[in-house]
Symmetry: C2
């Protein structure tokens, strides 16, 4: 019965795509500040919405994070499509590097990747998310599509080496902003780093004894 200041509350007119806007704002904030750094209030402000509405739609901050980090593209499909244009193994590494770099320049994907990366280093839960995402969605798809050399543990090891190079490339270019890397073009980086990735996948590398056989 207490009088409210003015008719600003209540449902808005028109078809509401507000929950979408909240998700996008959340992606942006998570990408810029990581899980802990992004506040619900800042996300709400970015979406021009009351903080309580965020809670109304997504319940908890954790749930919002999970919803926002759902990729707008399916990794396996992108990888398949990119690799389909190269039947052989020639230039395979270069193609992989180029695909990743191009994806990272895509709206939505870039924010999601950055959000996961930034959150993974400070939140153990997010680290598990990213690790499983990299291990299964990316590396898993990769070894399924590409003819990685060897079998079993060796394949996993080779894929892991690819991960070290690619994650490092992303971090150095997008987060750290090391000039030499951040200012280089996709072509340059693909040409330089591609061969390393290719060597990890199919090259002659001195394998430890436990991969004997």
């Amino acid at each position: 019965m207490t009088a409210r200041p003015a008719g600003r509350s209540g449902r808005r007119a028109g078809d509401s795509k507000t929950s979408e806007a909240i998700l996008e704002a959340a992606r942006g904030q998570f990408a810029e500040h990581g899980y802990n750094g992004a506040t619900i209030r800042a996300i709400a402000a970015r979406a021009q919405v009351d903080p309580a509405l965020v809670h109304h739609f997504y319940g908890t901050k954790e749930a919002l994070f999970a919803a926002a980090m759902r990729l707008p593209v399916v990794p396996s499909e992108v990888l398949s499509a990119a690799l389909a244009s190269k039947p052989g193994d020639r230039g395979l590494g270069e193609l992989i590097v180029r695909t990743a770099l191009t994806l990272w320049e895509t709206d939505g994907v870039r924010e999601t990747f950055l959000g996961l990366l930034r959150s993974a280093v400070t939140s153990e839960d997010a680290a598990i998310m990213l690790r499983e995402f990299v291990a299964e969605s990316i590396l898993g798809t990769l070894v399924r599509i590409v003819d990685v050399r060897g079998t079993g543990a060796e394949v996993e090891y080779r894929a892991g080496m690819v991960a070290t190079q690619m994650v490092g490339l992303g971090l150095t270019r997008l987060v750290l902003g090391l000039p030499a890397v951040a200012q280089a073009s996709v072509d340059e980086l693909a040409a330089t780093i591609g061969p390393s990735v290719e060597r990890y996948l199919t090259g002659e590398i001195k394998l430890p004894d436990r991969f004997a056989g």
Copy 2:
């Protein structure tokens, strides 16, 4: 004039190495949670000390971070020492990878590196710190000691490529804990990744036009 509960306050007996303990606790917390995630209260608790004492010694949280992140070793000296045993360029990359991995297993260095890395992704200030640290202390020393191929911008580009691989290795192994990388031995990783690093430094890489000359 208000009576205090009991004589628990005041200066402790014996020579106090408390400020040292606080620094070590801070390193641990920054390494585990990053700049924002590490709280002064948690650091104080870890050092078994009142939160106000932390502030008494170091003033602000930012100053404490700066003090805690001062490396217990001098990068240029370690690099020089490690590379001194290899006069030629043969096995250079492997040596670099091995040196980094070994350093990361050293107490104090490991915490500092992790603290910087974890903080750099969420705090812009820490990102600048890490970027400058990598650019000057690490890459700068590297190109001063090692005979990197080329001149000027090309050297910087090559050093940047090394950074992508090494930062990625550290992140994947220490933070992400990707099994294939985290469980591998120093020898295995050095043997596998070394050649990539060496190629970035001295190998034939297709350089973009802007390095012509």
